[in-house]
Amino acid sequence: MPLEIQVEKELADFALDVSFTAANEPLSILGPSGAGKTMLLRCVAGLEQPDRGRIALDGRVLYDSERGICLPARQRRVGMLFQNYALFPHRTVAENVAFGLRPLPAADAAARVWTFIERTHLAGLEQRYPRELSGGEQQRVALARALAIDPEALLLDEPLSALDTHLRSQMETQLLLTFAAYRRPALLVTHNIEEAYRLSSHMLVLSRGRIAATGAKEEILRHPPTVEVARLTGCKNFSRAKAVSENAVEAIDWGCRLQLARSISEPPAYVGIRAHAIEFVEPSAADISGENIFPCWLMRSSETPFRITLYLRLHQPADGSDEFHLQAELFKEKWARFRKRPYPLHVRLSPDALMLLQE
């Protein structure tokens, strides 16, 4: 298999301990800052040495603690894109891209530099120095420089975090095109679920040095195994939960009993629902007596240009405190239909949208 990684390394306040295989496609490594994501990349690149483990790329052993193998970074043929790009400030764009091509004859190297300069849309900028480039251009140079050595795997450390919003979507497109042409393992470290979701079909969630979830992105988003993974993938609503029957739980923090779509296989510690999955229902008698429908009161709201986030309290109006039970998110047009209705409003926590979560 392409990139096999098994790494143990003691860090300042936890241990990095992961084992996984990356196929010939991008894999997002999602996790909060300080989860060990960057350290993991650095171990693969050969910039840090694990305490124990084994790293192999297409059968080629890069690191094996048992056999005492630890290839230096220069022999690993692994391209790394640093968070701050680390472009050599004293070299022009063309010289930066050419840096790793020293072993090639000059003419071949020049041709290759030109290929990657064109591929990353840097033509016309090749004689500039890094400080004369915008953030997006610098990132493209870093990408061209890493790809020019024909690396057998690509490591990207928060590639979009230093860019502003509008450049970010341009670079996302650039990265998607790059990945489509690359067809080798690419590990992409990010703390942004949307970035991870758009750039790869598989994800690995890292939390305090351990793999909290791994698999197809849709599967992780639909059935996050733990509260932490749910939170990292953007879920906002959680309640402690207790199984009360084969297919119902008591949501302790929300003070209600919830019907589930399937029977419980493992007693959950929490139940969660994503903010956009909360539905508002018409107050006709038939609807509000249905399952998982509860009366609620609006505590406050916050708006973005097209969406609104509603902070809701279940079962009874506000009693002076500001506490809310649920955060619902919906398009403003949709909200316009409900906002003038008399209280209480009614929300439905659809059995299909409920996620049972472990500690």
């Binding site: 910039l47 970074a73 220069r74 790394m80 640093f82 472009l87 050599f88 004293h90 840096f99 890493a146």
Partner: protein, 226 residues
């Protein structure tokens, strides 16, 4: 007037600075990758010539390189003596200038963002290539400042030179030594001329250093198209 002390001083300082530059850079690059309790001792030894009186340095060099010293004996086998010869002025000047070069080179190398070096390594560069193509060019402004300081220090060297190389006119008589013996011989005019030459040289060097560090932009080269 015999101008030989000027040429001897310049030749000595230039040679000593070249040796110091290479040795100081090598020592700084070697030291930068190491940690441990022994390194404090290594630093101490490297910096000792900066704090010791030059006469002590000269005396130690004399013990080492003299006819009965370990290195002196070895050289004698090949029919060579260092003491009281022109190479002795170079050795004395290089040893006292070394700490300045070592200190500034280390500070300059430490200032280089390690990400640049790591990026170079992932691009397949050997450690020598990383040093020559990335670390050294980025540390160059600091290294150059250290070189100028070392040259100035070598030019002013007196005590160690006198002990190790003596005062042989036309051979080991540098400007500072010429001044000392001119004053001793009550030839104040000669002393004054050499003082003026020395002040002129040093001022030019310091002005050059100031120009480099301040006018060129606070000690950093701005890489961009002119």
């Amino acid at each position: 007037m015999d101008w030989s002390p000027l040429w001897i001083s310049l030749a000595t300082s230039l040679t000593a600075t070249a040796i110091t530059l290479i040795a100081g850079l090598a020592a700084a690059a070697w030291r930068e990758r190491r940690t441990g309790p022994m390194m404090a001792l290594v630093d101490g030894i490297f910096l000792l010539p900066l704090v010791l009186p030059p006469t002590v340095v000269g005396f130690l060099l004399l013990l080492l390189l003299g006819r009965n010293g370990p290195v002196g004996k070895l050289l004698l086998r090949f029919g060579a003596t260092v003491v009281f010869s022109w190479p002795a002025t170079v050795i004395a000047a290089a040893v006292v200038a070394f700490p300045l070069m070592y200190l500034t080179a280390r500070a300059a190398l430490e200032q280089v963002d390690p990400h640049y070096l790591q990026a170079a390594r992932t691009l397949g560069a050997s450690e020598w290539h990383v040093f020559r193509e990335v670390a050294l060019p980025l540390a160059w402004p600091g290294v150059l400042a250290g070189t100028i300081l070392s040259f100035a220090r070598a030019l002013g060297e007196f005590g160690a030179t006198l002990l190790l190389a003596g005062n042989i006119p036309g051979k080991t008589e540098t400007i500072p030594i010429a001044i000392y013996f001119a004053v001793e011989a009550n030839d104040l005019q000669r002393a004054a001329i050499w003082c003026a030459v020395d002040i002129g040289l040093s001022l030019a060097l310091l002005a050059g250093l100031y120009h480099w560090t301040h006018v060129q932009g606070a000690g950093r080269v701005q890489w961009s198209r002119r």
